[in-house]
Amino acid sequence: MPTSSALSLEDTVTALYCALDDALAEAKIECRDGKLIPRRGPVPDMDDREVLCLAVLQELLRFESDNRFFLWIANHPTMRELFPRMLTRQKFAERRALLTPLMQQLCQAFCALDGEGQPPFSSSTRIPFTSVSSCAPNAARVSTAWPQPATAPR
């Protein structure tokens, strides 16, 4: 069985950052003064996009606890180079909680990016055999052929 090619850490972080950037562009969310969600206060030391990138990276690298993740970042030279201005663990958790509504929007933006903005099975799609008249005991014989949809759902 062919093994999957591993990405280097730097490539993974770069690819993740670019993917999140694509999703932000799709959702029409702009970053102003390092903030993706408008709020009061000075310009943050760490950009909201970097916080988002780290939050997703933690899940991709399977770190269960925030503490272990931050210990790993502190001891990893590549991560220190990529993220020179790190927040404390507590501030990072607060910023991540603040960005939760944005993460919901980005999940849907990824669906739209890959051409899934509209469901293939909408309420205007006529579903045969579901009217009461078809199910009634003395219903008139209807065609039993299942109509083929234009795009076959999976």
Binding site: S4, C107, S123, I127, T130, C135, W146
Partner: protein, 155 residues
Amino acid sequence: MYFHGAREHLIFTPEGRVAFLLSIPGNRHDVNGLYALLKTPFKGALLGDSAYQPNTTKASQLQAHGIHVHAEQKSNAKQPRPAPLRDWLHARRSPVERRIGLFDHQFHAQGTLNRAVRHYHARRWAKALGHNCSRHINADQHLAFESVAHFNAAA
């Protein structure tokens, strides 16, 4: 006071991306996950198993909200659907169950250590976003679409 755990409801698109995620207490019936969507901006057509059949009142509220549910019926349904539709709905079930299992395995659904509820919800959404990001990156880089082994190995 007892803690009954939390049950997470996932909505997947046909291509296997997470469109929405909802946590409700574990001592509530699955259909409450569907009713909880009324308080969210989510709209769309959903396929579900027999646990997601709404009652008459909630069905009209869901329709008005823009959520259209097509759930498998229970075996004692008074107005059974025709066999082709039942078979079609049943055939859609296994890919969805597979994707739920894969999300659980790849993003270790039970491994979310947090002290506060809002941090817990933030991490659950980060997992869903990580799932969608990984699929997007894999498609972009021509890697195995549903694999995250190459990300795990980067640490």
